[in-house]
Symmetry: C2
Subunit: 215 residues, 2 copies
DNA sequence: TTAAATAGTTAGAATAGACTAACAAATTTA
DNA sequence: TAAATTTGTTAGTCTATTCTAACTATTTAA
């Protein structure tokens, strides 16, 4: 069975490959907070397992096998987060660290049961898609709120960033998935947005708006 | 944080100390299916952590600190088993292997929430007591069915053995915790018991009767 | 287009946890 | 009680995963 370490590396590589397709060693080291030589030796190991393509000094490419394996771990992570929120009453800002551990549990029946009890959800509490059992993952069609124009009415569908601090910030602003947002004004200078939702007005920074995914 | 290995050793030592108070190396090796030298080096490590008393060639004694730490792991194991049965619909024969993994999750709030959702249960699905958060564990007062006399009416309260095979055997006989059992006859030769419960009669072997704890 | 900075690699070492082989102490049996 | 058996220990090895120090290749900037 693959170690937790292997699984965590693979997941990071998969996630970094989404934006750029090619992944570099330094990014992995930063994400996992380990040294470059540690990454280098693990990368060779993963390549030996057929999960990556590796050539000295070249950017890494994840293989289909690697992608599939990573997606299955992410499936467990996101099902867990959904279960913790829906069935155990946790807030969306509390679940990531627990899921980071539970994603390594080896028990297909455990996660299948979660899936069943949840009614086969398509997205996790942060709006990210839950891969299916074969490791296939839906592509999100959402755009950042930052790209919207004044007068547009949109719905908050997912987050482009899910740190505790950001989630707590959203809680404090009563911003949750499903909230209908109308763009009132965009400040030309700094791209701050004045928006209205749930009956009140707020000014959101450009940074925040770039992380709110809407449709 | 303690490794899963350390936690698994400690749990085995705690369990073996219940019956005899003093624990020997060979028993640990057998329970964990590791070699004697592996046990020896881990035992020294645990002693160094103040969890055991160790002197060369002497039986081991678990300290109060060790007992408390072990009980807290067992608490997580048993809460998990209860949660899996009560809230996720698993059978009592399916939950041990999952709990064996989940007991190592580091998240007090996760187990506190389980406890709360379960209504602070005192026993796991096999009738074993769930230690409290301080690592204190209730002592069972039950006696084996094997000690009962013909004519006695008792209730099945807990199991002295919880292997999958035994649990499946009990399922096949419709024996579950809470079932009222009347002892009809005891065969003098082999101590087999003829019993009646849930409206039907069965003959149970001495081995089985020694593992059924009643009151 | 050379120099500086960044990114990636190798070598060597440390720790945790497992193992086998060899040996020593303790216990049981004759 | 002496021999045989069982139990426990030590020494040394192996794999996994991490690290630091030193080096090399690639990329960026002057
Ligand atoms: Mn997460
Ligand atoms: Mn993880
Ligand atoms: Mn169990
Ligand atoms: Mn365990």
């Amino acid at each position: 069975m693959n170690s937790q370490s292997i699984e965590n590396y693979l997941k990071v590589i998969f996630n970094q490959a989404i934006s750029t397709d090619e992944v570099n060693t330094t990014g992995i080291a930063q994400a996992l907070e380990v040294s470059l030589p540690s990454v280098n030796s693990m990368v060779k190991k993963l390549a030996g397992m057929g999960l990556l393509e590796y050539q000295k000094y070249k950017p890494l490419k994840i293989t289909d096998k690697g992608r599939k394996m990573a997606a299955r771990i992410i499936r467990k992570h996101r099902l867990t987060e959904m279960y913790l929120v829906e069935k155990m009453g946790f807030g969306w800002e509390e679940v990531h660290d627990i899921a980071e551990q539970l994603e390594h549990i080896q028990s297909p029946v455990f996660f299948d049961r979660m899936d069943e009890l949840l009614g086969y959800p398509q997205r996790d509490p942060h709006g990210s898609p839950i891969p299916n059992k074969n490791g296939q993952i839906a592509v999100l069609e959402y755009r950042p709120l930052a790209d919207c124009q004044p007068g547009e009415q949109v719905e908050l569908k997912a987050l482009g960033h899910t740190s505790d601090e950001f989630l707590k910030y959203l809680n404090s602003k009563e911003l949750a998935l499903g909230v209908k947002v109308e763009v009132l004004e965009v400040e030309a200078f700094d791209r701050n947005m004045k928006v209205e939702y749930s009956g009140h007005q707020e000014v959101l920074s450009a940074l925040v708006c770039s992380k709110l995914l809407v449709s």
